[in-house]
Each structure stands twice: as C-alpha cells, then as structure tokens.
C-alpha cells in the first residue's frame, strides 16, 4: 500500500476523540483496521521498524554515511517481495528501484518469446533497477522475485533526485554496477564453456549466499531458466549433484548437504565473482 493511500485510510478510521488527538500529535504507531483485520503501521513507525536496531540489511545502503542514509529514509518504503512476482518486464518503464533486505531477485533475459536465461541475481548486496542510475528509463530484463522477503523501494523520481544529490550513493551504485559487469562477463563465459552440473552448483551457492540458509526452494522451471537448459537438463544436473552427496533435491526443495564439496564441484566462476564483489 502506498503511503498516501495508507494515510487516507488511517484518517478515515480514526475520526475523533482521544484517538484522533493522539494521532494528530504524532503519538500513534499503528491503527487497527476492522475491515481487513490487520494493524496498519503509520509511515514513521514503519520506517523506524525497517531500520530497526540500526541494522541496515541491504549492504549497499549500509555502506552509506549514516547521515546520507537518514536523508533517503523518507523516500524508502518497506515492501514485501513474493516468490514469482514480476517487478519489471523487458521494455517496461522502471517505476521503482528496490534494495533487497532478505529477498532476492533474478534478472532474466528473454529470448525468442518464451525462452529465458538468468543473467544476474540481486540480493542484499545490491539494487534492482540499475538502468535508472545510468540514465536509462526502461528495463532491458525481466526482474523476477526468486526469494520471498522484504526490501526497501524508492520511486523513480525521488531516486534520480537522491542520486544527483548524494555522491556516496553514486559511488556505491557505480561500484555495484562494476561488480555486475564483471559478473556478467564471467557468466557469459560460464554459459558457453562450463558443464551444466558445475553451473548449477554455482547458482545454488550464489542463492545460498543471498538467502543465508542451506535450504531453499527453487522449481524446475526456475532452474531451467537460470541455466538456459530444458527441464531434463535440470533433472540430470541435479541428479548428478545428488548422487555425489552434495545436495538433496526433492520437488523443488533444495538442501545443500556438503557446501565445501559443492564449491569444489562448481565451476570457478563462483569464487571469481565472489571475490570481485567483496
């Protein structure tokens, strides 16, 4: 829900009396909505909770000087991203940029209508919507949520303004852009030369790094798109890794059983990109 819609709703719910007085004097954190059976957090409370305990989950934002980050807070809106949700289609105008906190987003290039290939994975280390930082309004890729979780999002206009006014943000974003370029170069070579099981191992490790758990869920379709192979190719590669006791893969539920072994089985791109990004 956008801030303006939420505010309008709040004002309709709290019409008068001591509750309205408390609301007007800024002493209220949340309003109970009988219609939806939920508590609506007021914007200030939501922002405070999003940066709770001074811990900023997104490392790009965390790298900013505190003051610069505080300056962005008014425009950063906490949202929940859900597995399978599309943030942009190729060619679509970018309306928001997203800084994932504990969610992550796949960027996919679409080829020949419905074939897809994942070209990047964006988690708490980065931002979705990089074209906007480069002065490009439209997304060249599909941004698809791969891991459910929270993120902070900012509208395109305020983001452009913030970028123009904040050199530290520029520096962080350009450094991140360089990391992604290096990642893309490596991925191009990887897709061309490395065997599917080794590439699967790499993507599983990248997902693990972003989710920060050895267990996660990825469907066959997702993996097929990630690797640019058919489902049978995914099954073969996953079976291969499972036979080597590196993972267990059952109906989309993946458990990394032997991380060191999986890293050894992965193509070198995993380590190369990881070192570039740190």
């Amino acid at each position: 829900m956008t801030e303006r819609v939420a505010n309008g709703r709040v004002l309709r719910l709290v019409k008068g009396g001591p509750e309205r007085r408390a609301l007007d004097s800024g002493q209220v954190d949340a309003v109970l909505d009988r219609e939806t059976g939920t508590a609506l957090l007021l914007p200030d409370a939501r922002r405070a909770l999003a940066s709770a305990g001074g811990q900023i989950a997104n490392s790009l934002l965390a790298a900013l000087p505190r003051q610069d980050y505080q300056g962005l807070l008014a425009e950063l809106e906490p949202v929940t991203l859900t597995y399978g949700e599309t943030l942009y289609q190729p060619g679509e105008r970018i309306r928001h940029v997203y800084f994932p906190s504990d969610s992550h987003v796949s960027l996919l290039v679409l080829v020949a209508g419905n074939k897809a290939l994942e070209v990047a994975l964006v988690g708490r280390e980065g931002m979705v919507g990089m074209p906007l930082a480069m002065g490009v309004d439209d997304s060249p890729v599909r941004a698809l949520v791969q891991g459910t979780g929270t993120a902070l999002r900012m509208k395109a206009g305020p983001f452009r303004d913030a970028l123009a006014a904040c050199p530290p943000l520029q520096r962080e974003l350009y450094r991140y852009a360089y990391d992604k370029l290096a990642q893309a170069r490596q991925t191009a070579a990887c897709n061309r030369f490395h065997a599917v099981p080794a590439r699967l191992a790499r993507w599983l490790l990248m997902t693990r790094d972003r989710v920060r758990s050895d267990r996660f869920h990825l469907t066959h379709e997702f993996l097929a798109d990630m690797l640019g192979v058919r489902r049978a190719g995914v099954t073969n590669a996953a079976t291969d890794l499972q036979r080597r006791n590196l993972i267990s893969y059952h109906r989309g539920d993946i458990t990394i059983v032997d991380r060191k072994g999986l890293a050894a089985a992965s193509c070198p791109c995993y380590e190369i990109v990881r070192n570039l990004a740190s």
Partner: protein, 105 residues
Amino acid sequence: MRPKKAKIRSSGGTVTAVVVMRLYIADGAPNSVKAVANLEAICKKYLKGSFELEIVDVLEFPQRALAEGVLVTPHLAKLSPSPAAMVVGNLSDRRSLLGALGIHE
C-alpha cells in the same frame, strides 16, 4: 485473576489494590517503546509490585486487539480496579496517565 479488594490508603500516593492493565503496542515502534518506558517508570514509582501488566503486540495479534475495542496503539487499558479507564498515545502525559490509573499524587 481477581484484584484484591483491599482498602485504598490515600496517604503518600500509594495504592494497595492490585492495578490490572493491558498495554497494546506495535512492537519496536517509537511511540510504543516510549509508552512501555513511561508506564514502567510510573509502575515502579507508584505501584511497587501491586500491579499486573500484560503487553499485547497488535502486529502479532491484531484480531485480539480489534475484539477488545482497540483502535490505535499505543493503547493502555486499565482493567481493574474499577472504574475501567484507557489512555492512548505514548503515555508521556504524566497527569492523564496517573489519573487513568487512579493514582493521586
């Protein structure tokens, strides 16, 4: 959970009937954090253990809060002794808080 029906001594501002309260908050949100701090300070100073406080997080139990007539948080409900009373906001208004709790300085 019956409050003791003891006589209320009026000297020194102490109340000997057990004050039963429920505070509805949004866990971690700024006004809620203040409300908890303000209430705990008052309880420590004036109620000295003769109180029961339940804290309900409306983010976790919104339905319960709605069922109990809560509209905004923070919301303090004094349940006992009667008369029941309520205060909303961050409870930094000492006078209205003490009044609601039946504490006379």
